[in-house]
Amino acid sequence: MQSCWFGDIDGSRCMPFTGDAAAYAARVREIRTSMDNFVPLDWHMAVTCGICRDRAEYLSLLQKVCIAGSEQAVREQYAAKDVELLQMTRTLDEMDTVINLLSERVADWYQIRHPSFSRKYRRTPAHVLVKSISERNRERGSGGGALGKVAREITSLSDARTALAKEVSARACEVMPNTSALIGGLVAARLLSLAGGLKELSRLPASGIQVLGARTALFAHLRTKAPAPKHGIIFQHRRVHNAPREVRGKVARVLAGKLAIAARLDFYRGCAVPAFLDDAQERIDRAGTYGKEEGKQQ
């Protein structure tokens, strides 16, 4: 017996399937076809089945089924929790780049307008300068021309960035509770975006997670005699960058190991596992203390 979208065919007999386009599409997804000695369906059987009267009707019905099925599949893939987080994280990172670029440019521009101005000895990073330019111009009421306008746009873009960062962090805690608990929502979201999805992240080895975001250094190492990178994006976490230089690589390695497990828990279970988290936090903290003490504990 052969099953195709419009019914089950047994020799010259046909048992039609009835329903709307979505029901046909759901049926197609459930049919398990074996590709051994497979023979494609014959559309004439649809007429025998009484599904349609002629070729034109057959194609029009089939198209409805195909469109319904594909629309449903697209909807389902987009409904996965990590898909939107991926776009949010990438938007956030691109906003950072844009804001920095524009701020530096505006600072340079401002210096041309004020020949005696210098940023030396002032500890004025570009974003603070931009903020003061935009505020000063607003007070004057003139608007400050294009420079003031651009500065104000950058300020409002920064506000949008702050709001987005909060949302990313909150969403990451929801989508990947274990990973976020270990390394914080923002860095967890960046790991997700570098890996390309939660499924992809959960299938990376710990060593892969350790160097995610250090691609240039990794390939420089593989190609030349450059030293291997100790950490990629996980360096952004305080446990790694606050660790003393000597143990930083070790902390990164232990953290990556626990992150790999956390990502798998997030993908396959989807809820926080306190027993694992306590154990992992303790183990990572221990890696951060000096070697001697650790030797005693063990």
Binding site: S3, C4, W5, R27, V28, I31, R32, T33, S34, M35, F38, P40, L41, D42, W43, L59, S60, L62, Q63, V65, C66, I67, G69, S70, E71, A73, V74, Q77, Y78
Partner: protein, 199 residues
């Protein structure tokens, strides 16, 4: 194939992707479509009003829309949801395009939908392009044609494109297909080759 002067065109409703119109025909740009490039650098395969096509790697439906202008029905298989959104829009306006969201290396996913076809067209960015084509030959009728757009850089970035091309030809011939034509698509597409076989 319809040509106006030297320009390859197809007959249908325009405005799919901002293509130019010429005497009421849609201009088929060889720089955007590998199949159009094939008709310009080689002979290609004649698309007839009764032809049934299984199109693997349909992407945004650019080439699909032109193929659909010529043939009876196109079964358009695409794996990624993003381009599928565009393909669905093409299908809503063209009665003979059947959009299928599935993996071309798993033909069992769309086996219940697809009938025997006259032409199997494949344009997928995968390392095992020859294997995918052979798997899908079950849908091809005896004497039907396979048009394989070989993306050599997707097979192996480190290998010489010529070597990938020869290896692929060997795989197809040893599977019992007859190779009728094989050509590079330069200058329109770099490191892409077209292989036309008969089952």
């Amino acid at each position: 194939m319809i040509r106006v002067g030297d320009v390859l065109v197809s007959k249908g409703e325009g405005g799919v992707y901002g293509e130019r119109m010429l005497d009421g025909y849609r201009v088929w740009d060889p720089y955007r479509s590998k199949l159009a490039a094939l008709y310009l650098v080689g002979t290609g395969i004649e698309l007839l009003p009764e032809t049934k096509v299984l199109y693997l790697g349909a992407a945004n439906g650019t080439t699909v829309s032109h193929v659909a202008d010529y043939v009876e029905v196109v079964y358009a298989v695409e794996f990624a949801p993003r381009p599928m959104q565009d393909l669905l829009e093409v299908a809503r306006r063209r009665k003979n395009v059947m959009p299928i969201l599935a993996d071309a290396s798993c033909p069992e996913q769309y086996a219940p939908l697809v009938e025997k076809v006259d032409l199997l067209y494949q344009d997928v960015a995968q390392p095992d392009q020859a294997a995918i084509a052979l798997k899908n030959c079950v849908f091809l009728k005896e004497g039907g044609s396979l048009v394989l757009m070989l993306k050599t850089r997707s097979v192996d970035i480190r290998k010489d494109p010529d070597e990938v091309f020869r290896d692929t030809l060997d795989i197809l011939m040893s599977a019992g297909l007859t190779v009728n034509e094989s050509t590079w698509l330069a200058p329109y597409h770099q490191d892409h080759a077209a292989i036309i076989c008969t089952k």
